[in-house]
Structures are given as C-alpha cells and as structure tokens.
C-alpha cells in the first residue's frame, strides 16, 4: 500500500539541514549519508550525495528526474558482475 499523501514524503530531518548548508556554501563536496530510506526532494537537485550500500559510498548526483525516489534506489547493495557491453558509452554530466 502506498504511503498516505497527507503525511508528506518521508525524510530524515538532519539531511534537509545538511543539504541546505551545502547548497549555501556552494562548495564542491560529496555529502556521505547512510539514510537510504529518505525521499529525494526538489531542493536536493544539483547536490552530490555519497549513499552507503553496506560496502562503500556510491556517488549520486541528484537530477530532477530522481525527485520522489529514495536514495537507496541509486546505490544497489548487490552488484551483478556481468560482462560490460564493449560498445557502451559514458557521458559526462554537467
């Protein structure tokens, strides 16, 4: 069952405070977090979080398409080591 709308999105409160500080400082930094359960809010767009996957912190550069998802969705805890596509390309984000 989906979460009731009247409650609003769940987020660990301290993340909001930290994100606000980071946005004001305009420094190039990765905010390391353990809170995989928190929802990505619009005010996080443009910030980079290091989301813990139980092993290491995976960088998550938040874009507007991620709003509404949870941080944990972008840091898988189990990695499939299949064969990488030989002609696959990487694109540098802004």
């Amino acid at each position: 069952m989906a979460r009731s709308v009247w409650k609003g999105p769940f987020i660990d409160g301290y993340l909001l405070k930290k994100a606000e500080k980071s946005r004001e400082s305009k420094r190039n930094e990765i905010i390391k977090i353990w809170s995989r359960r928190s929802t990505i809010l619009p005010q996080f767009v443009g910030l980079t979080f290091g989301v813990y996957n139980g092993h290491k912190f995976l960088p998550v550069l938040v874009t507007e398409h991620m709003v509404g998802h949870k941080f944990g969705e972008f840091a898988p805890t189990r990695v499939f080591h299949g064969h990488t596509a030989g002609d696959k390309k990487a694109t540098r984000s802004e």
Partner: protein, 188 residues
Amino acid sequence: MTQDRRILVGVVAGAHGVKGELKIKSFTANPRAVASYGPLGDRTGMRSFRLKLRGAVRGLLIARIDGVEDRDQAEALKGLELYVARDVLPKPKRGEWYLADLVGLAAITTDGTPIGRVKAMHNFGAGDIVEIERADAPALMLPFSKRIVPEVDVAAGRIVVDPPAEVEVKAEDAAAELAGPDQPGAAA
C-alpha cells in the same frame, strides 16, 4: 592507443537446430548490433566470421556463419569469443567516450599529482560513475561530471580529476544536534 585494440562483442553459446545455426550471446549495448560491425574475429585475429542474424530466443541471438552447414560444425564453435577491432566502432559524439577507452586511463589531479588508474565505469541510474583504483588506499568512486572530471584525454591516456571534499552526516550526530543541550542524549 586505441587503434590496435580488439573488443569482445559476443560469444557463441551453442548450436541451434540441425541446420548449422548458432546461439550468440551478445555483449553490445544493443544486442543486435553485434552483426553490424562487419566481419568479427576470434581471439587471435587469425579467423574471420560474418554473422547473419536469423532471430532471437530466450535472450540469445540466432545467427548463421558462412561455412557452418550442420549441427556438428556449429557445436564445434561453442565458446568461441567474437572480437571486433576498436577502430571499427563509430566515433562517439562530443562528450561521449567508449567505456573500453576510459578503463585503464591514468587519473591525475588538477595540479598533476597522480591518483591511480580508472578501474571501471558504473551506472546505477544516477549518472556515470568512475572508479579509480589507488595503490595505497581504497578505490575512489566519483561522479563522471564536468565539475569533477574536467578533462578526458584518451589520446594522452589520462583523465584530470578534481576530487570533491567529503562531509559525513551521521544520524546520531544529527539527533544530538536536534535534541538540544538540555535533552537527554544530547552532546555535552
């Protein structure tokens, strides 16, 4: 650097039927593209194969190779790795790089200090991530963005990295801060 390299694009998974058709496991971004790069070679580059796709079944492609006419010949090719020369791949667009070109590049900081080598590229849905292997420290995972990787020079064999600062947000520190000085459990 990239001209004499060969890239693995598929492997023969087995025979299909009795007319010499083969099951091919493709390692290209678009599976059907395996047949679009012209003749493929084996590991040594001595033999050449031209694939003709016939269809797909259970995630594998069905293809024919000239000169393979029956099941015995097809089964003899099981496990054959199919390679393509790196220079056959189309030139990537501006701002794009083949993962095969990026892996192995030296990583240096903006002031020229070496950090390590690019071990792998990942994408878990939040943009590309570059993993840099360091000799004396754990691997470094960084977003593949213009801000953090301002320069990629495949010809020179290096990427320039501007490693960002890292700040930790621990739940217990934040809870103590939020609780205030007169609350139990607050930091003294």
